[in-house]
């Protein structure tokens, strides 16, 4: 009896696997002509192989664990009708589709691919064009969004959507994606334990990366370039930003990163280059800034107050118009052992640190903070003269705001 049951079990397993993990091919001349049909006839854990061609479909609901693979990038054309693929099941893989023409709506956030309350999904090698929202993860867990290319054509903020949006999601990896010309490149809200890595988010209308109320996330080696306003980071705890590049966010209201109500974060090894403001900080506490490069920014750092216990150690400040703007008391923030290209002191005891403290806040920067209209005197001889006299004998700028150990050589 035991033997038979094992045999039957094996047989069941064998055929079962064969039955359930079958491959269904979808093409224009096949038996199954549409993706929707394919999903309907597929059993759980089947693979849907979609051949090259154009599939004019929208509102495709993936409601069972399936692997949907496109061969040579088949085009799924939503014809601006609405959402294109909605995943409502666990263990779904989408790979290699070319999805275009997502419908625009003012009442619903239509996405090219939406994942709803699902786990263990993988979305990879997908190309999205002419979209409203791109990849929208809603209350999901344990998924991965990998190597996708999202090219939008957003013109106005009010009728465009975000490239990759995470909402109430956890343990998601977003890696090696390229997002361009959408409203916000990558957007996170109420999403914890997310890893955002090696993505390139550029030329977006508003923010390259935008997150709020999202804790314990890691942002690593991403590039954010030439976005309307840069990157905005708000109301989050324990985040890590490592080795990212924030570049060319140049405009009257742009910044590399805006930090607002961020606590216990680590910002290390990032490069801020040619931004109007490198980092704009507001109400953020216990953040460690180290080994960052601030190069050729208008303002490297603008501290807007209510910031406590932040440490700026071992950063390079090079060729910024203003290194620092500060409009409150120093509080207990620390600036130490940074390299400042504007530093003109000397190092007699040859310990690698200047003997004269460096004052990163220029008098002009202080005045501009008080009366913004005075910025019109930028680069006038008078400002240079009073900046110089202030440098020699500080009267107005906060007394304690010094780097007592400015480095003589830049940190590599």
């Amino acid at each position: 009896m035991g033997k038979i049951s094992v045999f039957v079990g094996l047989l069941w397993l064998f055929f079962g696997n064969h039955l359930w993990a079958g491959t269904i091919t979808v093409c224009n001349s096949c038996e199954v002509k549409t993706i929707r049909e394919g999903i309907a006839v597929a059993a759980d854990f089947d693979t849907l192989l979609i051949k090259k061609g154009t599939y004019k479909e929208y509102n495709i609901q993936v409601n069972k664990p399936l692997t949907i693979i496109g061969e040579n990038y088949p085009v799924v054309d939503g014809e601006d009708q609405g959402e294109i693929i909605t995943i409502v099941s666990n263990n779904v893989t989408i790979d290699g589709l070319f999805i275009i023409n997502v419908g625009t709506s003012y009442t619903a956030d239509y996405a090219a691919i939406r994942v709803v309350k699902s786990e263990d999904f993988l979305i990879q090698n997908v190309v999205l064009e002419k979209l409203f929202f791109g990849i929208y993860l809603e209350k999901c867990k344990n998924g991965k969004v990998y190597n996708n290319k999202i090219i939008g054509d957003a013109v106005d903020e009010y009728n465009s959507g975000n490239g990759i949006q995470l909402w109430y999601s956890q343990n998601i990896v977003v890696e090696r994606n390229i997002v361009q010309h959408v409203r916000d490149g990558i957007y996170l809200e109420f999403s914890d334990n997310i890893i955002i890595e090696n993505n390139i988010s550029s030329n977006n209308l508003r923010y390259g990366l935008h997150f709020m109320f999202s804790n314990d996330d890691i942002y690593k080696n991403n590039t954010f370039e030439n976005n309307g306003a840069g990157v905005a980071v708000m109301f989050s705890k324990r985040i890590k930003m490592l080795g990212n590049t924030f570049k060319k966010n140049w405009g009257t209201a742009s910044f590399g990163v805006l930090l607002k109500e961020i606590n216990d974060a680590e910002i290390t090894g990032n490069t801020f280059e040619e931004n109007t403001i490198g980092i704009s900080i507001e109400g953020s506490n216990r953040i460690n800034y180290s080994k960052n490069n601030f190069i050729k920014n208008g303002w490297a750092i603008k501290v807007r107050g209510a910031c406590y216990a932040n440490t700026f150690i071992h950063n390079n400040f090079m060729y910024n118009s203003f290194d620092l703007a500060y409009n409150s008391n120093l509080n207990d923030n620390i600036f130490e052992e940074n390299y400042w290209s504007n530093y003109t002191g000397y190092d007699l005891d040859r310990n690698g640190m200047g003997d004269v403290p460096y004052r990163p806040v220029k008098l002009f920067s202080y005045i501009v903070n008080r009366t913004p209209e005075t910025i019109i005197l930028l680069r006038s001889l008078f400002m240079d003269i009073i900046d110089f006299s202030e440098k020699v004998s500080p009267v107005f700028t906060p007394d304690a705001l010094v780097d007592a150990k400015p480095l003589m050589k830049k940190i590599k």
Binding site: W250, G251, T252, A253, S254, T276, G298, W299, S321, I367, R370, T371, P372, E373, T374, I375, I376, L377, L378, R379, S380, L381, F382, M383, I385
Partner: protein, 271 residues
């Protein structure tokens, strides 16, 4: 009548030519020319990017050009005083004498500036780069500043027989427009910070040729993003054709009024 008018003009041109060649022969305009040539080459050698060099050059131009125009103007006037008195004994219209001298000085200074900076920039490929408009604006404002400050210097020299006094006043005039004016401007911005200051700062900028030149150039460069909200208002004004025409008119006015006063006073002055 036309022949007389013609005669007057040719005389003025003759004096202009004389002053011009006089300065060309003197060492100083070569020094001035070589200074700009060297400055241009060094700047471009250190920083190959034309647009970056333009902004460094702006700092030099808005400070140095007025200063040199002022000092050169005063010096030239006092130095050629005896020759001027000799000319006055001749049947030549007074305005031709003084205007001829003025345009001779201002013209040679402008030429030194334009050629001194133009040659290195042209050699480094100005004509293929898109910095050409910024650079032309720089040269135009530089030329205007030379014309304005030389005229102011001539006026001061004409009104002061005492050389030391005249020299002092001229430097003071430069100091006022280059530095003190901005100080007063800044003070009034801070004192009246409660009030809307946009139109005030626009007007205050328009009235000082140095500030006007600086603002005109700054707004054309990338760095204008730093000006933020205030910059946006300025851009709205100076960015339009109307604003540009207004600024050029203002600079012209700054040139014409001292030149007019020069000929007016010269006509009535008892030498």
């Amino acid at each position: 009548m036309p022949s007389r008018q013609y005669q007057l003009t040719t005389r003025m041109i003759k004096i202009l030519k004389y002053s011009f060649y006089d300065l060309m022969r003197s060492r100083w305009s070569y020094v001035y020319f070589l200074f700009y040539l060297l400055l241009g080459f060094v700047l471009l050698f250190l920083n190959n990017e034309l647009s970056k060099a333009v902004i460094t050059l702006m700092n030099v131009i808005i400070v140095l050009v007025p200063l040199i125009g002022t000092i050169f103007g005063v010096m030239y006037y006092y130095n050629s005083k005896e020759f001027t008195e000799l000319l006055l004994a001749q049947p030549i219209k007074r305005s031709s004498i003084f205007l001829g001298q003025y345009f001779g000085v201002a013209g040679s200074l402008t030429m030194s500036l334009v050629l001194g900076l133009g040659i290195p920039f042209a050699l480094y490929g100005l004509f293929e780069s898109n910095a050409i408009w910024d650079f032309s604006l720089l040269l135009i404002t530089g030329a205007f500043l030379t014309l304005i400050f030389t005229a102011v210097a001539f006026n001061i020299a004409l009104s002061n027989e005492n050389r030391i006094k005249g020299f002092g006043y001229a430097v003071l005039a430069w100091l006022f427009l280059a530095v003190i004016y901005d100080g007063l401007f800044l003070m009034s911005l801070i004192v009246f910070e409660e009030y809307p200051l946009d139109s005030f700062s626009l007007v205050a900028t328009m009235f000082n040729p140095i500030d006007l030149s600086r603002t005109l150039i700054l707004l054309k460069l990338d760095i204008s993003a730093l000006l933020g909200y205030t910059g946006a208002i300025f851009k709205q004004f100076f960015g339009t054709n109307f604003g540009l025409v207004m600024s050029i008119c203002m600079l012209l006015l700054w040139t014409i009024i001292p030149v007019w006063r020069l000929s007016y006073v010269a006509k009535r002055k008892d030498f």
